[in-house]
Symmetry: C2
Subunit: 262 residues, 2 copies
DNA sequence: CGGACGCTTGAGCTAATTCAAACTTAGTGG
DNA sequence: CCACTAAGTTTGAATTAGCTCAAGCGTCCG
């Protein structure tokens, strides 16, 4: 079918960069990853990529655009768990869990690379380094979820907004979108409210106050952090939980080669 | 040097039961697990098992007692991320992350089995089935964190209390503590408040109202769910996210035996 | 041009908070 | 065995952060 070639390299670089961050990736691992069958998928703004209950057969990696993991309650209330930016994995857990326990929606137009689950799992389970790297990526995602719990549980509205802006700014910078003081936030105030467990009216008031106080500037989806230090002080932000620093992995596995039988 | 023998079997049964839940565990896997060096550790109520910033060299598995993962803010506010019950893993992520980004405290007296990180990682990385099982356990934990985000973000106080009671009741039952209508909840109202992002005064009022309405009864740490259906209806509880049903894993890996070299 | 969507602001309301005090229980030591 | 303390629970009163409702905007797009 239309298995693509050219864009793979581009995205693969991001994937490799991310995995290399966690573990040693040698030529063998690289080749195995590059040999994975992939196809590109696109989603329109608002479209559900994964719906709760789905049983997708593919893992997805965001190539461009923003998406959101979310859970809806029966009465229409909904909570965003996490935003997904380019380079983030979409549902690795589909391999081991039978049905998705949450949904994922495209916020902007999203392009993603889809890798068949069995192929991906084969590669990762046959190579311990890749398996470990994948496990690490999962744990890192968990750390972001933990921080979301604290943010929404024990911080007031302006602390929450400041903290989220700083997180997203940092994550945008890492993937080369935005610079030291500004980034594009293609997320409506309704969605920010759903992420922070507040009403969109209140999000608006907080943002307006930040603007009036000279902390930020806003033009369309461009956010300028005019006084980043003040924002950081306001919510005691620390980027530690994003685990972005290139630290050597704690344990290195010996390379796979010959394994004793039995 | 006081490597223990007798209690291992007891706890190992819980560990095996949990892992078997996710993947096929054969004799080889079982033997590898049983051969792990372990020692028992105990912690007093209120004692920190892991402090943020620690760099522990051991993985821990709760044998008895309750503990809590939590994060504290500078000004003293603190948020409980998740409760840990017997059979739960303590910090698997220590293997791949350098410093713990959150703390764990014993709520009751806790006994745990400690397994050196390198030994555990060796076993799990040498056996793909165990590795997959461990990964699955991690993903399951993530699902509980996600539900915690929704609970605290988009539910009101009584929904939160009802939902948490139902979750903990279910988790207690799974490990053989408590029955269909009652369980022991050795957790003060202050801690419930820290888990649900509310004030302890308000937790008290909600619980009192539940008692007055005949939904629950309380005697010391014994909670009786007198009208479980009403509680479930109140918060639209579904235990799906706990992923407790013994479903077959989505993908089975071929057993490890001889592996081609190079 | 009209309609959909998102942003903004005001007014009134309420769920949950803070502060304060009393009370209950378990544990400790004389 | 009782006094004393510490920790947890309970309740009331006053306060407030954030909500809902409602209306008016601007902007984009077919």
């Amino acid at each position: 079918m239309n298995v693509i070639k050219a864009p793979i390299e581009i995205l693969m670089r991001a994937l490799l960069a991310r995995l290399t961050h966690y573990c040693e990736i040698g030529d063998a691992e690289r080749d195995a990853l590059l040999a994975l069958p992939m196809r590109e998928r696109t989603y329109e703004p608002g479209e559900d990529v994964i719906e709760k209950g789905d049983n997708p057969a593919e893992a997805l990696i965001v190539k461009s655009g923003w998406a959101a993991r979310y859970i809806s309650l029966k009465d229409g209330r909904s909570q965003i768990l996490n935003f997904l930016l380019p380079g983030d994995f979409f549902d690795l857990q589909v391999f081991v869990t039978d049905a998705a326990d949450h949904s994922i929606a495209a916020i902007t137009k999203v392009t993603a690379l889809a890798i068949p689950g069995h192929a991906m799992l084969d590669v990762f389970s046959q190579d311990n380094n890749l398996g470990l790297a994948l496990w690490w990526a999962t744990l890192q995602e968990e750390a972001i979820l933990r921080e979301q719990i604290v943010r929404n549980g024990r911080r007031d509205a302006s602390e929450r907004v400041a903290h989220l802006l700083l997180e997203l700014h940092r994550r945008a910078m890492i993937i080369g979108e935005g610079d030291n003081t500004e980034f594009r936030l293609p997320v409506s105030q309704v969605l920010i409210a759903d992420a922070l467990g507040l009403s969109f009216v209140h999000i608006n008031r907080v943002l307006r106050r930040f603007i009036n106080e000279g902390l930020i500037e806003k033009d369309k989806d461009l956010i300028v952090l005019k006084d980043r230090d003040a924002l950081i002080a306001k919510c005691d932000f620390s980027a530690d939980y994003l685990h972005l620093d290139a630290e050597p992995p704690r344990y290195r596995l010996r390379p796979l080669a010959i394994r004793p039988s039995g």
